[in-house]
Amino acid sequence: MKSALKKKLFVTAVALSFALTVPVATIAGDTIKFGVAGAQSGDLASYGIPTVKAAELVVAAYNAKGGINGKKIELLIEDDVCKPEVATNTATKLVTDGVDVVLGHICSGATKAALPIYKEAGVVVMSPSATNPGLTQSGDYPNFFRTIASDDAQAKTEVDFAINVIGAKKIAVIHDKGDYGKGLAEFAKTFVEQSGKAEVVLFEGVTPGAVDYTAIVQKIKRKGADTVIFGGYHPEASKIVSMMKKKRMNLNFISDDGVKDDTFIKVAGKNAEGVYASGPQDNSTNPVSIAAIAAHKEAYNEDPGAFYENAYSAALALLNAIEKAGSTDMAAIVKALQNEKVETPVGNINFDAKGDAVGVGFAMYQVRDGKYVEVK
């Protein structure tokens, strides 16, 4: 008797857990299927969730006005955990579900893995955050666009700042061996060498997640570097910065938008003070941006997270292009993206032939009193 009850309970639990995973019933009929893909769980989830929220807000606003050309917009949201091997599954799932355009993916590695699948299916993809230069510059993906400047633009901003503003002479370039971090570090190295005004005294990768970075920090000191440029994400950056403070070293630390995240300040605490990071330029005076942030605050009662404005812009650009093109055909959308300017939180933008947004760039920020402040 007891075991029979147990079995029933178990079956009910299993049934319930399946029921919860079934997506909310989709509205039948003719809709525009708007895919959103990126990290929504895992340790990089904080980069991907703001994009989902941006898409939800933009789509809700469009649907409230009656959709596009009489069609409602439907969101298809998929998680890729920022892993290339998962991203291919995510892309296949979206394509199978008949997605028209995709906002995503978040990480460069995942985006690169997913793009061939979308290209084959003729789906336009726009990332708010994938900054690997090859994604656009290789010309392999005519269906790919982005609302963030590429890594080499970011590396250029960082190196110009290091040499011209701080006056760095000996620069140690460190990266985390990942697609994003190493790519950025290699550009930084090239730009420093081209400048002729400073030298790269050290170029090395660290192992993400290692228990201790003493040795690499001692090496930076031995090489006599006055400035460190780090390509990678905030967990390693905060370990290196903290270890440098522990070893009583006082160097300029410059990093990228993987570090320009409030989690970095939260984790590194007072060791974060004075750290420079490049990030998308400040749009705080742009009325579209103000409205986008206000919408987020109203819906979620908190400030938006990383890449929110880029994602908001990408969603606006994609929907605007579909509206102007009057179709969800890839060639028509691509043409509209290139020719029709659209007002977005990151400025009044259209896209060049390779897929980069025209007029979107980087600015430098510094941690002062626990906050990132733009350095003019």
């Binding site: 061996k177 192992t207 228990v211 201790d212 003493t214 040795a215 001692q218 903290s242 605490g269």
Partner: protein, 300 residues
């Protein structure tokens, strides 16, 4: 020369970090011949427990020393109960099964615990408070050895000495050695083998929790994944030193830590793991049972 000394101490600290975790691997393997892959997760749970306790206590304004002691005890007890439960649920029912079965069960436990903490706590990195204060007398050498390095080094040494004493000179130690040699014989002479094995898991897990507190305080951040990476390295170190041997685990950890530190310092941190694992392969070619491991004799 200064640079050499800096790298040397960096390597020692890193090695001691591995050792605090490797001891748990080696103890369990020594007794029941199982590689407890969930051990890294026990360490992670210890770090989380001490984080939570320390955060709560610091809100109430406890002094740092009290926080360290209470958080350490809480983490040790909590992790020990996890170790005890895991053994009971996942390994004991499989004790008579072929060797692969408990191994797979251990990997399953490891994945389960990671995801459990991910879901129950957070996927974010959390800032771990610096529980080890900066000692004033260390200030002149702080650029070489920091206060937290010192505490980790001393703790590892004490733990190793304590464990060796426990195993060589106490009653439970004697029972552990007997169980390791021959379980059936141990039962026949009146040793409660189940209890001995439980005790081993409890001690190993409590040590991992202390390690979790010290290491997290040294690094300054934790998340659900730290146990996996540290666990793999500690396991490597235990094999290097001769798995099953307590001094071997410490020696193997120090050798691994120093190799990584010097490889980074004199060659490149890109090749840190290449050197570490080449060394492992070399040592295992010439000493298949590790630096201090005993050659396994076949029981007839």
């Amino acid at each position: 020369m200064d640079y050499f000394i800096e790298l040397f101490f960096g390597g020692l600290t890193r090695g001691s970090i591995y050792a605090l975790i490797a001891l748990g691997y080696t103890m369990v393997y020594g007794i029941i011949g199982l590689i407890n892959f969930a051990h890294g997760e026990i360490y992670m749970i210890g770090a989380f427990t001490s984080f939570i306790v320390a955060t709560v206590l610091s809100i109430y304004g406890f002094p740092v020393l009290a926080i360290v002691v209470i958080a350490g005890l809480a983490a040790a007890v909590w992790s020990a109960s996890y170790g005890f439960t895991i053994e009971k649920l996942a390994y004991r029912p499989l004790r008579k099964a072929p060797r692969l079965a408990p191994l797979i069960s251990a990997i399953g436990m490891s994945i389960f615990l990671q995801n459990y903490v991910l879901l129950a706590q957070t996927s974010d990195f959390l800032p771990f408070p610096a529980l080890i204060p900066e000692f004033a007398f260390m200030e002149p050498v702080a650029h070489i050895v920091g206060s937290s390095d010192l505490v980790i080094l001393v703790t590892t040494a004490l733990v190793m000495i304590g464990l060796t004493f426990l195993i060589k000179f106490t009653k439970i130690g004697k029972a552990m050695r007997a169980t390791a040699q021959d379980k059936t014989m141990a039962v026949l002479v009146g040793i409660n083998v189940d209890r001995v094995i439980s005790a081993t898991f409890i001690i190993g897990s409590a040590l991992a929790a202390i390690g979790g507190l010290l290491i997290a305080s040294h690094i300054g951040q934790i998340n659900f994944y730290i146990g996996f990476i540290a666990g793999i390295k500690a396991f490597t170190a235990a094999v290097l030193g001769g798995i099953g041997s307590i001094p071997g685990a410490v020696l193997g950890s120090l050798v691994l830590g120093l190799t990584e530190s010097f490889a980074t310092g004199y060659v490149s941190s890109d090749y840190e793991d290449v050197f570490a694992f080449s060394l492992l392969v070399l040592i295992l070619i010439f000493k298949p049972s590790g630096l201090l491991g005993k050659a396994e004799t076949k029981k007839v």
